[in-house]
Structure formats: C-alpha cells, structure tokens
Symmetry: none
Subunit: 418 residues, 2 copies
Amino acid sequence: MKAYIITIGDEILVGNTLNTNAAFIGEKLFEINIPVIKTSVVGDDNTSILNELKLASSACDLIISTGGLGPTHDDVTRKSIVDFFKTELIESKEVLEDIKNLFEKRKRKVTNVNIDQAKVPNIAEVIRNQLGTAPGLWIEKSKKIYVIMPGVPVEMESMMDSTVIPKLNDKIGSSQTKIKMKTLLTTGIPESTLYERLGNLDDLLNGARLAFLPNQFGVKLRFSVEGDDEKDIHDRLVEVEQRIRSKAGRFIYGVDDDSLEAVVGKLLLERELKISAAESCTGGLVGNMLTNISGSSKYFERGIICYSNAAKVELLKVDEDTLQEHGAVSMEIAMQMAEGVKSTSGADIRLSTTGIMGPTGATTNKPVGLVYIGYCDDKVCTAKKFNFGDDRLLNKQRTAQAALDFVRRQLLGILLDD
Amino acid sequence: MKAYIITIGDEILVGNTLNTNAAFIGEKLFEINIPVIKTSVVGDDNTSILNELKLASSACDLIISTGGLGPTHDDVTRKSIVDFFKTELIESKEVLEDIKNLFEKRKRKVTNVNIDQAKVPNIAEVIRNQLGTAPGLWIEKSKKIYVIMPGVPVEMESMMDSTVIPKLNDKIGSSQTKIKMKTLLTTGIPESTLYERLGNLDDLLNGARLAFLPNQFGVKLRFSVEGDDEKDIHDRLVEVEQRIRSKAGRFIYGVDDDSLEAVVGKLLLERELKISAAESCTGGLVGNMLTNISGSSKYFERGIICYSNAAKVELLKVDEDTLQEHGAVSMEIAMQMAEGVKSTSGADIRLSTTGIMGPTGATTNKPVGLVYIGYCDDKVCTAKKFNFGDDRLLNKQRTAQAALDFVRRQLLGILLDD
C-alpha cells in the first residue's frame, strides 16, 4: 500500500500556515510502514481538488486529504468528493447527534450551517469528530481507500489516532513488512567531513537506509531498517548504530529528539556539578538554552552577560593589560573570563564566549565569525578558537552549541582536536 | 505567471521535518503577486523528481524546487535536472571559488565531494550561495523559469531575497496587476480582543483584504490592496493602516519584518539610553534578543542571569526578608531586582523578569505561567503581573516579549493598563 497526502487550503499555499497536517500523517503512516509517495497542497477550489484526486488515485492506493470541510463559503471539499465519486449527500443521524451534543456542551446554539454539515456523501462511512463539527469520511472504491478529514489539526489528529490508523492496521494485517528508525545527532563536524568519515556506506549500512540532515546545530544521521521479524530488525538497527558510532562516536551527542542542552544538563545532574557562563558574543543565549530545560535550576543558578570590556573587567576581573594587548576576542581573554566567572558564581564548570558575530566589528586580523570559547573546571582551564560564518544569528547559535558541546566533551573526556 | 513549488526530501514525506521552505517561498511570491497554484513534496528519488518536473512544467510557468543539492549520496536533484533538460555538467569557476573561500574562512579542508558541487548543468545560470556549498540554479527554457535551490532554509532564504525575487520582479515588470501589502505587528493583546477592537471590518477595510496571524509574540495584521494604479493602491493602503492604528495603535510595535528588539533598540539609541536586565525566569533570553541586533553594544553592555535566590541576593542586593515573605516570584522582588541591577550596571533602563515557567514549580497561590516583570528608570520604578500559559518555552518567549514591550511603552508614554 502506497499513500498520497493532499492538503487543501489557500492559507498553506501563501505560506501563512505551516503544513503540520501532512507531517503528522506522514509520521503516523511511517510508523505502520505505509510509504508516503507524495504530498501536495492545493487551494480551496473545486477544479484543483478534483484534478488532485484523479492524480492521486492514479498513483496510489491510499489517498488522505485534510481541509476544506468547514462550514463557510470557502470550504468546498465535500462538493468535490460528491463530484469525484458521482454520488449524493444524505443526512447522517449519527453526525447530527454529535453536532447537537457538541453545541450543547459548549452552551452554544446550533446554526443551519452546522446542521448542513451532517450531510455526508452516500458512498462514505463516517469518521466521527470528537472535537468539532465536520465529520471525517472513509470511502473505499475500486480497491482504493480515500480518507477525507477536516484541516483543524487537533480534530484531524484525534481522527487519525482513534479511527484511521487502527482501520489501516486491520487492512494491512500482519502481511506488511515492519520498519524501525533511529536518528543520531552530531555536532561540530561538517556534513562532507562526516560523510567521508563514515567511509563506504554500503558496507556500513548493509541494507539499511541512511539520510544526512544538516541544520545550524549539526548534522542528524537518520537510518532505518525494514524486515518481517521484529527482533531481526531491532538487531540490525543496533548493529548499524554501533558501526556509525565506531566511526563518528565523538561527534554524536544524542539520539532522536534529544537536545544538546538536555544532554549536558543530564551529565551535570549525574555528576552533581554546577555550571555558570560568562557570555559576551552569545549575549545570554547559552543561559537561555540551559534554562530551556525544566529542572535546570539544579545545575545552573547564575550567569553573567558581559558585552562590553568594562563589564568584563568589573564583573569578571579580566586583566586590563591583557585586554589592551590581545583584545577582547582572544584566547587569553576567553580563559580569563571563564576563570573570572568562578569568583562570581562558585560554579564547578565555567564557560565563556567571546567573538565577532557580524556584520560589523571585524578588524584586519579578526574576521566576522571568529570566536573563542573558554572552559574551566577545577582541574583544567582552556580555550578553543572557532571560525564560523557571516550570519549574526547563526553565529550566535553555532557558538552556543559549540560551547555546550565543549562541556559535553570535557565531561566525557573526548579530545577536542577534531 | 503562475507558480508551482516542489520540495524534495524524504525527511519531509515522513514528517521528520516541517515544510517551512514551501511556506517561505509561498509568502515571498504572494508579496510580488505571483499566485502559487500548487506545492508538492516528493522523495529523494530521480524518477519521482523527473515526474514532478514534468507535471509542474505542464501546469505552470514558474517552477521552484528546494532540496537534494547537498554533497551526499541521497542528494539526486542535480542529476534529475541534467536528465530533465538533457544537458550535462560543467565546472563553474565562480562556484568553485565560492566553495574554496567558504572553506578557507571556516579553516576547513575542501573535500572532493565539495569540489564536485562546483559542477552545474550547462544550461543553468548560477545563483550564488553565501552560506553554504551548493549553488542554486536559474534555468529558462520554452518560456518557463525553473529555480532550483538547496533545502537548507537559511541558504534558500538568502538566495530568494538576494537573487530570485529581484529577478522575478524584473521579469513580471509592470504588466501584472499590482498588489501592495503591509503587516502591522501587535503584541500584548489576544486575537479575539483585537478583532472586537477593530469593529466592523467591511467599513474598516473598504475592499482591502485583512488576515489575523497569531503567534507566540503577538498577532500580526496583514492587509493588502490590489489595483492597476500604483498611487491609488498606495493611498488606499495608507488609509487602511491609519484606520487600524486609530483603533489599536498602542499595541502596534512595528511593521513588516520589524522585531520588537530592533524597535526597542532604535528607541534607546535615539534617546542615548542604556539598558540592562536582571533575568530570572527568562534565563538570558532578554539579553539574547537584545544582542540579536547588530549595534546593540551601544545600548546593552551587560546583564545578570540570576536564576537562584542566592544569586538575586548576592548580585542584585535583593532583600532576604522580602524574599522570605513574598517569595522570588512577586511584585516586590521584581521591583527590587530591577532596581538592584542599577548598582551592577549603571544602566538608565533596568528590566527584571521572575516567574514560574513550568511544568514544575507551581504552588497553591502561584500557578505555572505567573510572571512579574520589573521596570525602573531614573523617574519610575514599577512592576506588572502577567499570567501566561502552560508551555515552558512559550512562557519564556512571552515573558521576554512582554518585558521588551514594557520598555517600548514606557519610553513612548503608553499606558500599560490594557
């Protein structure tokens, strides 16, 4: 069984609304191993919807649409369904009951447009809507399945979970092959270097599939294994993971939905260590990331944002002569800042960031993107130089990510030299 | 001219990644009045991409694709383009230069896979990539335009802004019906209250179109006017804007792509004022937002992240008895924090944030979402209570936004009582 997802709605075409519905459905279908071949977005327009239904049913055996089932003038999907299947509308007592109950619960009066929503195409089985007025439709014709749902995300999601996925599972039974997926999260290594490091992918993957997904925080490695036997695919997934880790383990900070700040937080908690940061170029971003994690007050209780030289001297006791000689963006100052935050915080782990984020501020020797990150704990005090890009916001994000990865690697004893 | 957007990438089909690229492109094309007829997503697979290119070019005259141009094995778009146009790859000196410069700047070694990225289809004009290695491609054939871009959002967005939109504007010239659009950015007022405040929309808009676009930072009001005469639509746009401002002016902090932090920064610069923040619950986010603006060092030079009570007492001289009596999340402590940051910073404007971000930390009297924001300048010292929601990250963003809006309103003398 192959799937085609159609999202209906002008607001998505013009970019006002992100297409989270197609993503949600794609993820749910992936979990039961029904491949999505294509997704499309068309406007609230009868001809476009009809064309798309034709195209989809010629390519796939499962067609899922969302959107255009509401009560207002610009909701035309139900009419398109009637036209497409050359059928007619009949009132569903069940749906009418649901609508009346919903309005009663919300202490609102049922309007005529809502009563009209109880009319469904003759050919369709109703998918009940617990959270809104528009029913979903399940239609089987010529060995193809059509699932038509409203576009309001919570309503559609509830229908998928309570009705559509269970019904699809029944249809495909146990015949379908199973699939398992895992994502390894790397940081501090460019996509091309990571790719070369992994070597021959056929040997590495042995039939598994692998995707490289880069963003500003690093490259995600997503791999998946298919098969009939649950245990077998589990074992193969573990094997592939081990092979990837043996090649690039030091760059992998987490799996699936992990964030670096959560991973670092967990390490600090386990070791009962406290962290503090003296932030110049990141301007508070490191503190912000750390405190995005619930419970972070156990290991992060203060930080200093020292954007100016005066702030570095006054709050962190950075040496004015060193500042004069090497400048604020230097290895020396990064180390002094990290050391200096100890007196203010008493934290076990001290971080610092200093750099030129751009677009202005570059000098002959110090280009935009130049960053020093300092790290001190009670045994070691060190700093590392980085060269990021031209974009101010990306530079801040990359610096904060590199600073947190610095902590992760130090705590795990991973060398920083590549 | 009608547009068709193709997004290429398995990760989008299976719902791992939201299709923000199609939304971004849709929005940009809307602004220059090129309607998007359809968008689609297909996997990283040569046959699927070829089919989609055929379909798109039979339906539209502008075809824009993103994705599949990276350096690894699963990036196949360039091959599909070569197949589709029956052309061949030639090395672009310009692109090779860009790639080498990028790697030099980042102090990384150029790998063979990167050098291979400098090969572009013979038929294509190169769209230079300032932020990554994969060049974009601009191809004109049989009166149709094909724009092929990498899938990394920042790279694609930069290409759209710097090259694609200007070139398209040249192409459509003056023939097209004109559309002008403006967005007013509000904060501190819920969508439904704003809607009621605007009154009868037909009277207000007089033929213009209006969309309410809510997000965590506030509600955007986007309105547009169409017509043939440049001056006429300009005048009508100004009229609508004035009518909206007369109803909801105090909530409007900016227009179009403004950010609140840039608006506040400009006010501070104009008045030669310096700002400092004592952040508890926002954990550095206020400082991070302020320093996202280039040139912010002129008005922001330090900040204190005081997550714990001890940090509040030691760094901000908050009174321990008050802390004991009222708790850290209180009007009194918010004011003491804002006042206390003066001694550390000497700044003219002092902000503070203290609150319960959740999901844990609530008490009987203090629910998750309770926030106090303090504000002091040399004339006034005040604080305001807010009740936000249940989501930790949204609560942090809403608090930082409200804190900056507090400054904006104080500087502009706008009452805070609604």
